[in-house]
Amino acid sequence: MSAITNPLSETSAAWKLPYRGKVGMACLIFAESAIFTIFVVAYLFYIGKSLSGPSPKEVLTVPVFITICLLSSSITIHLAVRALRNAKTRLFGIWWFLTLALGTIFLAGTGREWHKLIYQDGLTISTNLFGTTYYSLVGLHASHVTVGLIIIAIVMAFTSLGRVTPKYSERLEVFSLYWHFVDVVWVVVFTVVYVVGR
C-alpha cells in the first residue's frame, strides 16, 4: 500500500510553516540564554562576598566605547542583510565588513581591559570571588562574540570572492539573529557587572 493521499481534502496551497532555520536558531538562543542566566545568577549572588582582593569599584571602568561599537554592529548587520535581500551585494559587503570591524574592536577592547586588570590591578580568575565570576561571565560572552566573528570573517572571505548572492539572505538573516542575541546578552552583562555590581 502506498502512502496516504487523503481524498477528503485537497492539498491546500496555503499550507505554510515557519522557516526551520529561524526555528532552530530561536531554540539555540533559548538554550544559550539558560546558560548565561546561570552565570548571571552566580555573579549576582557573589556580589560583595569576596573575602579579599580587589573589588569592582576599585578596578572596573565602564566600557562605554566598545559597548557602543558592539551595539552598533547589530545595526550594521541588520542593514547588511537587508541590502543582500534587495540584491545590493556591494552595499552588503560594506555593512558586513563594518560589522566585522566593530565586533573586532569590541574584542580588542575587552582584551585591553583584561590586560590592565591582570597586570596592573592583580585581578585574575583565581584571585577572589569577584575575579572568578567576572572573568567567567565576561569571558563566556566574549567566547560567543569570537565564534560569531569567525563566522562573519568566513562570510567576509566568501563575499570578497564574489560567492555570496541574494539567495543566501535567509540563512544570513538566521545568523544575524545569533549576533543580535550576543548583543542583547552584552546589555545584560554590562548592566549586571558595570552598573549593579559596582
Binding site: 515557519p18 532552530g24 539555540l28 546561570i38 552565570f39 567567567s136
Partner: protein, 557 residues
C-alpha cells in the same frame, strides 16, 4: 509488495560487503538509521549499567560484605546513575523520537539531518569518554579512576582537594559533550515539528507522541543550560583556580546544589514525558478507542513542563533553607502531581469502555499505570517536607525514583519496543517470550523495589558500601538483590527476543496492530524516503478516517 528495507539500496543487485554496510551506517544522516543507532547504543549501555547495579546489589547482600572495596563501590553507584540517565534513557528516548516523529508528521526526515548525525556522535563520544575514565582516570596524581562523587557531584567533594586526579573531570567533560548533543537533538525535534508537518496537520491534529516530544525538547533547552553552566564553573574551579564552589574562599556549596537541581529535577520530566508519549499511542490502539481528552493531555503536559521548573529544591529540603522556602517548594512539588494525575486518569478513561487486548505492549503499559501511580504517591510523600527530612538520603528515595524510572519509564520503553519493533524491523516479535519477559520482570521488579522502601524507613542511608548488622536491614537487602537478579534475567530474555525475532519472526506487514497514525501507512521497515508522496491529513487519526470512511474522525473534531 516489496518493502524496501532501510539497509538496502533498491537498485543494488550485488550484495554489499560488511565494510560498505558499516560505512553507510557511520555516515548516515537518515533519521531512521540514527534512531536505530541511538537505541542500540542505549541497549549496550543498559547492559553495562545493569552490571554495575548487580555489583552494587551483591555487595549489599549482607552486612560487612567485601565483594568490592569501598572505592570500587563508590565508582559503581556513580557510574550506574550517570550511565543510566545520560547514556541509556536519554539516548533511547531520542532514538525513538528520531525514528518516529518525522514518520508521524508526514515528513521525509528531520529538519537538520547533519546536525542530527552530529548530535548522535557527540552523545556517543560522551559515553565513551566517561568509560575511558576506568583506564585513563589516573591522571597526574595517580589518584582517582572512574568518577566516584555520585551522579550529582556535590561540591565541595568535587574540589581538587577532595577529588584529586582526573576522575571528576571525566564526569564533567563527558556530560558537557553529550549535553551539546542533547541540545542539538532537541533543536531538531522542535524545528521538525514546527516546520515540517504535512499539509492538514495542524498542531492540534498531531499525534500526542509528537506533542509530548515537543514539550520534552523545549524542556531540554531550559535544563541542559544550567548543567552546562555549573559544569563549566566546576572546570574553572578545578583548573583555573576559580572559587565558584570553594567554601574556603567564601564560595557556596549550596549554589552547586541549586544549579544542579534546576537541571536535575526537570531532567526527570524530560525522561518521563516521552514515556507518557509511548503510552498515549499504545493504550488507545489496544483499547480500540481514541485517547481520552486529547486537548487536556496536551495542556497537562505543558503545565507539567512549566511547574516542574519550580520544584527543584525538594531535593534540598535537608540543607537548611528557611521555613518559607521549604513551604514554597513543598507546595509546588505537590501541585505538579495534579496534571500528572490527570494524565493517569485520561489513560484510564481511554481504556474505559474499550475492548482491551493484552498483547505484550499493552501489558507493559498496564504495568506502567499501576507502578507510576505508586511512584507518584511516594513522590507526594517526599514532597511533604518534614516527612522528607526523614526519608531523603535514604533507601526510600532510591526505591521511589527506581519505581519511576524502572517501574514507569522502563515499562513504557519495553512497551514501545514491542509496539514499534514490527515497524522498525519488518518482523513480529515472539509473543510468548514477550509475555515471559513481562511477568519475570514484574515479579523481579516488585520483589526488588517494593521491599527497598523499608530499609529507608528503618534508617538505611543511600550510597553506603556496607552497613551494620542487627538493624533489621539484612534480610530485606538480600531479597532486594534477588529481585535485581530476576530483573536481569528478564532483560536477557528481552534481548534474546529482539535478536531471535529479527531472524525468525513472522513478516509484519505495514500495520499489524490496526493502528491509526501515519507511520503505519508505510512499509515495515519504511523506505528511505518514508512517503512516496507527502500525505494530507484531516484529523488526528488519518488511518482511522481511511478505514472508516463512513465515520471519520474529521467529522467530530
Amino acid at each position: 509488495m516489496a518493502s524496501d528495507s532501510i539497509a538496502m539500496n533498491p537498485t543494488d543487485v550485488s550484495a554489499k560487503s560488511i565494510t560498505e554496510k558499516l560505512h553507510e551506517w557511520v555516515v548516515t544522516v537518515d533519521h531512521k538509521r540514527l534512531g536505530v543507532m541511538y537505541i542500540l547504543y542505549a541497549l549496550v549501555f543498559l547492559v553495562i549499567a545493569g552490571t554495575e547495579a548487580m555489583i552494587i546489589r551483591i555487595q549489599l547482600m549482607r552486612p560487612h560484605n567485601d565483594f568490592v572495596s569501598p572505592q570500587v563501590f563508590n565508582r559503581m553507584f556513580t557510574m550506574h546513575g550517570t550511565t543510566m540517565i545520560f547514556f541509556v534513557v536519554m539516548p533511547v528516548l531520542f532514538g525513538f523520537a528520531n525514528y518516529l516523529v518525522p514518520l508521524m508528521i508526514g515528513a521525509r526526515d528531520m529538519a537538520f539531518p547533519r546536525l542530527n548525525a552530529f548530535s548522535f556522535w557527540l552523545m556517543a563520544f560522551g559515553g565513551i569518554l566517561l568509560y575511558f575514565s576506568f583506564i585513563g582516570g589516573n591522571g597526574l596524581y595517580g589518584a582517582g579512576n572512574a568518577p566516584d562523587v555520585g551522579w550529582w557531584a556535590y561540591a565541595p567533594l568535587t574540589a581538587k582537594a577532595f577529588s584529586p586526579g582526573h576522575s571528576s573531570d571525566f564526569w564533567t567533560l563527558a556530560l558537557l559533550v553529550s549535553g551539546f548533543g542533547s541540545v542539538g537533538t532537541a533543536i531538531n525535534i522542535i524545528a521538525t515539528i514546527i516546520s515540517m508537518r504535512c499539509p492538514g496537520m495542524t498542531l492540534s491534529r498531531m499525534p500526542l507522541f509528537a506533542w509530548l516530544n515537543l514539550v520534552m525538547a523545549g524542556m531540554v533547552f531550559l535544563v541542559i543550560g544550567p548543567l552546562t553552566a555549573a559544569q563549566l564553573m566546576l572546570c574553572v574551579d578545578r583548573y583555573l583556580g576559580g572559587h565558584f564552589f570553594d567554601t574556603q574562599a567564601g564560595g557556596s556549596a549550596v549554589l552547586w546544589m541549586h544549579f544542579f537541581w534546576i537541571f536535575g529535577h526537570p531532567e526527570v520530566y524530560v525522561l518521563v514525558i516521552p514515556a507518557f508519549a509511548f503510552l498515549s499511542e499504545i493504550i488507545p490502539v489496544f483499547s480500540r478507542k481514541p485517547i481520552f481528552g486529547y486537548p487536556v493531555m496536551v495542556g497537562a503536559t505543558v503545565c507539567i513542563g512549566f511547574v516542574s521548573m519550580s520544584v527543584w529544591a525538594h531535593h534540598m529540603f535537608t540543607i537548611g533553607m528557611n521555613s518559607y522556602a521549604n513551604s514554597f517548594f513543598a507546595i509546588t512539588s505537590m501541585v505538579v502531581g495534579v496534571p500528572t494525575g490527570i494524565k493517569i486518569f485520561n489513560w484510564l478513561g481511554t481504556m474505559w469502555g474499550g475492548r482491551i487486548s493484552f498483547n505484550t505492549p499493552m501489558l507493559f503499559c498496564i504495568g506502567f499505570l499501576f507502578q507510576f501511580l505508586i511512584a507518584g504517591l511516594t513522590g507526594i510523600m517526599l514532597a511533604v517536607a518534614p516527612f522528607n527530612w526523614q526519608l531523603s538520603g535514604s533507601y526510600f528515595v532510591v526505591a521511589h525514583f527506581h519505581y519511576v524510572i524502572v517501574g514507569g519509564i522502563m515499562h513504557a520503553l519495553f512497551g514501545a519496543f514491542y509496539y514499534w519493533y514490527p515497524k522498525i524491523t519488518g518482523r513480529m516479535f515472539n509473543e510468548t517470550l514477550g509475555k515471559l519477559h513481562f511477568w519475570l520482570f514484574l515479579i523481579g521488579f516488585h520483589l526488588c523495589f517494593d521491599l527497598m522502601h523499608i530499609p529507608g524507613l528503618l534508617g538505611m542511608p543511600r550510597r553506603i558500601y556496607t552497613y551494620e548488622p542487627g538493624r533489621g536491614w539484612e534480610t530485606l537487602n538480600l531479597l532486594v538483590t534477588i529481585g535485581a537478579f530476576v530483573q536481569g534475567i528478564a532483560v536477557l530474555v528481552f534481548v534474546a527476543n529482539l535478536i531471535i525475532s529479527y531472524f525468525k519472526g513472522a513478516k509484519a506487514g505495514n500495520d499489524p496492530w490496526d493502528a491509526w497514525t501515519l507511520e503505519w501507512s508505510v512499509g515495515s521497515p519504511p523506505p528511505e524516503y518514508n512517503f512516496a508522496s507527502i500525505p494530507t491529513v484531516a484529523s488526528r487519526r488519518p488511518l482511522w478516517d481511511l478505514k472508516h470512511p463512513e465515520d471519520p474522525d474529521s467529522r467530530y473534531e
